[in-house]
Structure formats: C-alpha cells, structure tokens
Amino acid sequence: METKHFDSIIIGAGPAGLTAGIYLSRAKAKTLIVDSGVAGGQMNLTHEIANYPGFESISGYELSNNMRNQAKKFGCNIMSGISISTIDFESETKSIGLSNGKTFTADTIILATGGRSRTLGVPGEASFKGRGISYCATCDGDFFQDKEIAVVGGGNTALEEAVSLTKYASKVTLIHQFDHFQAFKEAEEEVLKHEKIDIKLSSRILSFNGSDKINSITIENINSKEQYEQKLDGVFVFIGYEANTDFLQGKCIELNERNEIITNERLQTNINGVFAAGDALAKRFRQITTAVSDGTIAALNAMEYINQKKTKSSSAVNI
C-alpha cells in the first residue's frame, strides 16, 4: 500500500479547491487535490459565466481548465475520479484512504467538496433520467418541442426555467411542495401570468410512470391527500442543492442540520488543521466568486497552520 505525505490535502477540485491548490502550491506547500469527479466541479455545469471578474464571458468548462492548469503549473498534484473510502482527521497527522487502495497523509486538510443538485428520491427517478427526467433545461429543452412537461420546484431557478421551457413545451405544470414560492417577486409574477404554465402548489410527485420513457406522473395534494395521475412527456427537477458531505456524516466534523460544514471565521472546522471552503460550507451565498474567496482564506489559514507546526517541531529539535 502506497503512503505519501503532503503539507495539505484538498478534497474537491471545484473553484474553492483549485483556488486553495493554487495558493498553497505557489507558497511551495506540497499539495494534493483529490476529487471523485472531474476538475472544475459544478463550474462545468455552467454554459456561460458572465459575472466572474476579469472575464466578460467565459464557459464553465474553460474557466475550470484555466484553474486546473494554473494549479498544476505551480506544482499542485491533482487526482480526479477517485473517491475516499476512509478518513482520519482527528490525529495530529491527518490521513485519507482512497478507493484505489492508496493512503495519503497531511498536516492539514481542506474540505472543498461542493454540492450537487438535489433529487426527488421518488420511484422511477433514476431509471427515467434522460428518458423524460432532466435536470438541465438548456441541455434538454429542445427534446420536448410541443410536448407537455412538468417543472418541480419553487425557487428562482425552477420558476425561471419553467418560463424558458415554454419556448418548447405546449404546456408546463409547475409543481411545488409548499403553498407559496421561494422566488423573487418578478419571477413569480411572470409565472403567474403565463398562459402556458399551470401551477400546482402544496403538491408532490409520488412516482414517475412509463415503460421505456415517462408517460405520466402520480401527484399527491399534500393537504387533501388526493392522488391522481397526470399524462406528460417530461419532468424537469430544480429543487436546489445539497452539500457533498455524505462521507463526513457521523464522523468528527461538525455539520449543521442540512449537513453543511460548520467553520469559524478562519474557515477552520471544529478539528484543528481541518479547514473547509466553497459550497459545502454552512453559508448563505454560493457563487464561483465566493468559492474562490473561501478557497483563498482556507489556504492562507492552512499555510499559517503548517508554518506554525514546522516552527514548533524545529524548536523542539533545537531544544
């Protein structure tokens, strides 16, 4: 079994993790970034980014590649497509075990695991993905020309995408579990006045039905418990994001009730030497720019921790 020691191991290669990697590697800290997916994280899921300072317009793919290449240029090691099987963060020397059997140790850990689209967890959802169920209106909207579809969710994204999908669909049913939306007033007004959009509040999908693709859904009115079937061709799900912290649940890192990582103002978790950055944090705003900011702060504090640790150990040797 291979074991290698780093000054810092960053878990997650999205904008927070890559920024932390850039800062640490440039400061000559021996750094490893590990990601279960591909470098860039959710940045890759954005067609066009128009609010990242310095770029009038850039694709998420290109910005991801730029950040990855910049980190590598400074000597940062990046391992993608590898999941973590074991962790030990409580010891003075932290360690992670990977799915490929390798174990790495480090003085500091930065948790930059990001988030993912929330799924409904309803029967049929996994098997009908790409066969009627979609999580991306711009990707798959044109498959539903003149067809009847549903959009699930009540936030800004759901309402904006419901309107945008009316370009293709003959009818859009907007399904939301609460009796009111959680979106900006303008988005709500646009949905309410749209003739192609039918709204079902206090409702939820119980199942997706069909054979090789969706042909109906079963809906329940949450208040009356009435259940009924609605024929349609597609469902777009926009019900927010959740933190990628499954591997931390029940372990030493303190999480909030939404399983987001709790940190102090230095972005250090409840464990010494373990920092966190990006969308997995318990915080209000989640943007690429805020992830980059978090990555910077976490890296600088990790660097300070590493330097203090080295100073302490050299003092001990001198004595």
Partner: protein, 116 residues
C-alpha cells in the same frame, strides 16, 4: 463540426462505421458543450490510460452526421444529452442518456469490455 475537447472525435457517419468495425471496443459520447455532457467527456479523458483497450470518442450532437448515433434504435427513447453508446465488435453493447458519473461509466466498461 467537432467538439472542443481533448478526446478523439468522430466527424462523419462513415467514419463511425469504420471506427466501430476496426476496433473491438468503442465508446462514443454524442453531445454538446453543455453541463450534462462536459462531465462525461472529462471522465472519458481520465479513463483513456486505464482502459487502453477501449477507443474513446466524442461526436457533435448538432452535426447532421450525428444521425448515425441519434437514430440508433437503442437511443429511440432518449430525451437527454449526451447520448453515450458503447460498441462491441461493431454492434451496440450498451447505451445511456444524460449525465453519467465515473462509477456508472466504469461499470458499463467493465461489464461490456472487461478490465484492461
């Protein structure tokens, strides 16, 4: 029309026929440069070394030549990009619609083509 990825591309239907007839194991991801497609290209790029016995290719979904993928019977129920098709000895061994993660892709590669 080709996609700006580091993968090898398929540009025409004839080229696809040639590739699947000349290579035992071929994986073709037919999509756009969109949020559901890019992660699949990324996984393919990373698997090329580990699965050297597989020819990894992409194809632009909006190219008229992509009818060779779009019109496959195995893709007839697909309504999500990308369309990813695995060919074994010139025949479709598996096909998926929409985004797939590394584990989902390697499960199919291992089942249909075996480990290197």
């Amino acid at each position: 029309m080709v996609l700006p990825t580091p993968l090898k591309h398929v540009e025409t239907a004839d080229e696809l026929t040639k590739i699947i007839n000349e290579n035992e194991n071929v994986m073709v991801c037919c999509g756009r440069m969109g949020p559901m497609c890019i992660p699949v290209y990324g996984v393919m790029e990373e698997l090329q070394e580990e699965y050297a016995h597989v020819d990894f290719r992409d194809m632009a979904f909006d190219s008229p030549e992509a009818h060779a993928i779009r019109n496959l019977p195995e893709c007839s129920s697909f309504m999500g990009l990308p369309f990813t098709v695995y060919f074994k000895n010139g025949k479709v061994a598996a096909a998926t619609s929409s985004i797939q993660n590394r584990d989902q892709i390697t499960t199919i590669l291992d089942k249909e083509f075996g480990k290197n």
